[in-house]
Symmetry: C2
Subunit: 375 residues, 2 copies
C-alpha cells in the first residue's frame, strides 16, 4: 500500500498520482462510483470495469443493516459478496447516522440511533465501525466521525471537533488489519481555524490518507469551494486527499485544481437512472418529450455503450415506458462520462495543461445543450 505523487501542475495545485492498494492500482485524481448496497445501482462489475472504474465505494451503515455484516463475512467479504475484485473504499457510517437515522444520543463513547428501515435501536462506536469495516474487507476504510450540519455555531463545532479527534485516535487504535489502510476525516464546518486544527490533530495521530468531510451539507456553493480550496491546500501533501460526497462535473474539475486526489458522489448514477445525462455541453434531460424523434446518440463523440448503440429517441422511449434498460443506459453513460473526464484531467496534468483543460471544460459545460436544441 503506497501513494506516489507522479507530477504536480505548475499553475494550479492539481497533481497526478498512483495509489497502490490490496486489490489493485488506482490512478489519481480518481472518481469512485457509489455502491451503497453492495451494487452500483443498475450495473454489473464487468460494466464498471469496461467504462474504466478502478475503485468503488460501499456504505457501512447500509450494509450493516442489510444484509448485515455476518452474512457478508460468511460470503468472504464485500468483494466476493458483490463480485468486484478491484479496490473498494468503505465509509465509517458516521455521515449516514447523522443524515439518515433518527439520532437518539451522542456520548463520548459513541452514537445511539434508530435506523431508517425498521427503526431498531443501534449503537455505533469508533471501535465498532472499524471492526465492521475490517469484516467488510475494503481496501480503504474511514475513521468514525461526527459530521455537523449547516449552519452550526463555532462553540458546537469546537466540541464536535474535539470528540471527532478522540474518535479518530480510537479508530486508529482499533485498526489492526494490515491489508487495509485507514484515512482520517477533516471536520470543522465553515471555520478555517478549526479545519486547520482538525488537520493538525489528525496528522499527530497519523493516517495513510485524509478525507475532507462536512462539505456539501447545505452551505452556499461559493463557500464550499472556498473551504475546499483552503482545506485541501493545507492537507498533508504526501498523502491522498479525498473530498467526500461531492459532486457535479464542475465540482470535480474545480477541486482537482485545488489538489484533491479522490472523489465519490451519487450524482452520475442518480441522475442517469432518472433520465438526466451529462454531455460536454451540459446536462441533457433525455427523458423529455422533445427527444422522442431525435435519432442521434446522447453525445456524438461519446464512446460509451449507450452512445455507440442507441438513439436519444430510443432511450427516451425506454424512460417513457418505465423500462429498466433506460435506467441502465443513463447510468452507464454518466459513469463513462465521469471516468472519461477524469482520464482527460489526468492527461492534462501529465502534459502540464490542466488550467487550459479546466477552462475549456467549464466553458463548454456551462453551455446548456438543452437551450441549444430548439428543434
Amino acid at each position: 500500500m503506497e501513494f506516489t505523487v507522479l507530477k504536480k501542475d505548475k499553475i494550479t495545485a492539481a497533481r497526478l498520482g498512483k495509489l497502490v492498494l490490496a486489490h489493485g492500482e488506482v490512478d489519481t485524481p480518481c472518481f469512485m462510483p457509489v455502491g451503497t448496497q453492495a451494487t452500483v445501482k443498475s450495473t454489473t462489475p464487468e460494466e464498471l470495469k469496461e467504462l474504466g472504474a478502478q475503485m468503488i465505494l460501499g456504505n457501512t451503515y447500509h450494509l450493516g443493516l442489510r444484509p448485515g455484516i455476518e452474512i457478508i463475512k460468511k460470503a468472504g467479504g464485500l468483494h466476493k459478496f458483490m463480485h468486484w475484485d478491484r479496490p473498494i473504499l468503505t465509509d465509517s457510517g458516521g455521515y449516514q447516522v447523522f443524515s439518515l437515522a433518527d439520532l437518539r444520543e451522542i456520548t463520548p463513547e459513541g452514537v445511539t440511533f434508530r435506523d431508517h428501515i425498521e427503526g431498531s435501536l443501534h449503537t455505533l462506536t469508533p471501535e465498532k465501525s472499524i471492526r465492521i469495516q475490517q469484516a467488510l474487507g475494503a481496501d480503504v476504510i474511514m475513521v468514525f466521525d461526527e459530521c455537523p450540519g449547516y449552519p452550526v455555531d463555532y462553540d458546537y463545532t469546537c466540541k464536535s471537533l474535539e470528540l471527532t479527534l478522540q474518535w479518530a485516535l480510537r479508530s486508529r487504535k482499533a485498526h489492526t488489519d494490515g491489508s487495509q489502510i485507514l484515512f482520517g476525516i477533516v471536520q470543522g464546518s465553515v471555520f478555517k481555524d478549526l479545519r486547520k486544527k482538525s488537520i493538525e490533530g489528525l496528522e499527530e495521530i497519523g493516517f495513510a490518507g485524509y478525507g475532507l468531510g462536512g462539505l456539501s451539507v447545505g452551505e452556499p456553493k461559493e463557500l464550499m469551494f472556498e473551504l475546499a480550496e483552503y482545506t485541501v491546500g493545507i492537507m498533508p501533501a504526501d498523502k491522498p486527499r479525498y473530498i467526500m460526497g461531492t459532486g457535479t462535473p464542475e465540482d470535480l474539475i474545480t477541486q482537482i485544481a485545488y489538489g484533491a486526489d479522490m472523489f465519490d458522489c451519487t450524482v452520475p448514477t442518480r441522475y442517469g437512472r432518472n433520465g438526466t445525462v451529462f454531455t460536454p455541453y451540459g446536462k441533457l434531460v433525455v427523458r423529455n418529450a422533445k427527444y422522442k424523434d431525435d435519432h442521434r446518440p446522447i453525445d456524438e463523440e461519446c464512446g460509451c455503450y449507450a452512445c455507440r448503440n442507441y438513439s436519444r429517441a430510443y432511450i427516451r422511449h425506454l424512460f417513457n415506458t418505465g423500462e429498466i434498460l433506460g435506467n441502465r443506459l443513463g447510468t452507464l453513460h454518466n459513469l463513462y462520462f465521469y471516468q472519461d473526464f477524469m482520464r482527460k484531467a489526468r492527461v492534462a496534468i501529465r502534459e502540464g495543461v490542466y488550467e487550459r483543460f479546466q477552462k475549456e471544460f467549464l466553458d463548454r459545460f456551462g453551455k446548456s445543450v438543452e437551450a441549444g436544441n430548439k428543434e
Copy 2:
C-alpha cells in the same frame, strides 16, 4: 426464407427444424423472449445473444402506441431502433386489442377501441396491422385475428372464426414485403371441429407458417393440452407451428412432443424480474428470506452469468433492497434456463431420445426445490 424439418422423433411427434429468415437462422423448437416495448425487459441485446436467444418477439399494439410507428420507421425499423440484429416476430395486435384495450366495436371492417394508456380512440384493420408490421420490419409477421376469451359458446365462435378467416385473407393480400414471412393464426376456441375448419380455411389461403392462438386464455390446463395436441397434430407438417403466448417449462416440454416448433411467453422474464427463478428441480423464490444466508448459486449446475458469479444470498439481498441488478440477474438466469432446456430438447430429438428427456425433465422439475430446502 425457408423452413426445413431436419428430423422427426419416432415415438413422440417432436421435430427438429431450421427456420431461415431475413436476419438469420433459428433452430427449432425455439423459445422467443418477449420484447413488448422494443426491449426484453431489463436486458441488452448482447446479453440475449450470450444466453443463446436467436429470435425475439415485439408487440405491434404496444409499439404502435409508444413510441409510435412513425418514430420506429424513421429509426430504420424495429431492429435498428432497439439494436437487435437477429430475427424478430411481431404479433398483429389482435390479442392485445381484445385483452388490454377498452373494446368499442367489432365490425367486418375491423376493430375500434380505446387504448389502455391514454384512452384515445383507434381503429385496427387487417390492412392496417400488416402495414404497421411491414413498417416495423420484423422477419415474421402475423395476420390480424379475433381472439375470443374463455368460455365462449359455439355459435359465437363460428361467427368469430368466419370473420377471422376473412381477415386472414385480407392480411394475406395486404402483405407485399418479400423480406418478411406471414403466418396465419388458428382459432376456434375449445371446439375441435372449428379448429379443423380454421386450419383448412387458412391452408386454402396459404401461409408460410401457422400460429396456434386462443390457448391459455382461462381454460383448464388439461383442456389446453388436449386442444394443443389435437390442433398441432393437424397443422400443416411442412410449415412452422407456433404456439402463441404459452408458457411454463412444463408447457413447452410437453408441447414440443405434440410437434410444436415455436414458442413465446412472458413467464421467464416476468418471474425472474420479480425474484422467482427456475431450476431443474422446480421454481425457487430467491427473494424469500430463507435464502438470505445461502451462499450457493441459484443452481450449482447452471452456466448462466448469475450462477457463475453470484450467490442466492446476494441476489436475495438485491431483491430485498429493491436493487435493479436483482431484476437483471433473475431475468438472465430464467432466460438462460429456457434457452438451455430448448437446446437440450433439440439434442434429445436429434439423438432420438426425446420421450426419455421429457420424462426425466418433468420428473425432476416436479420436485419442488422450495420443499427440499428446509434449512
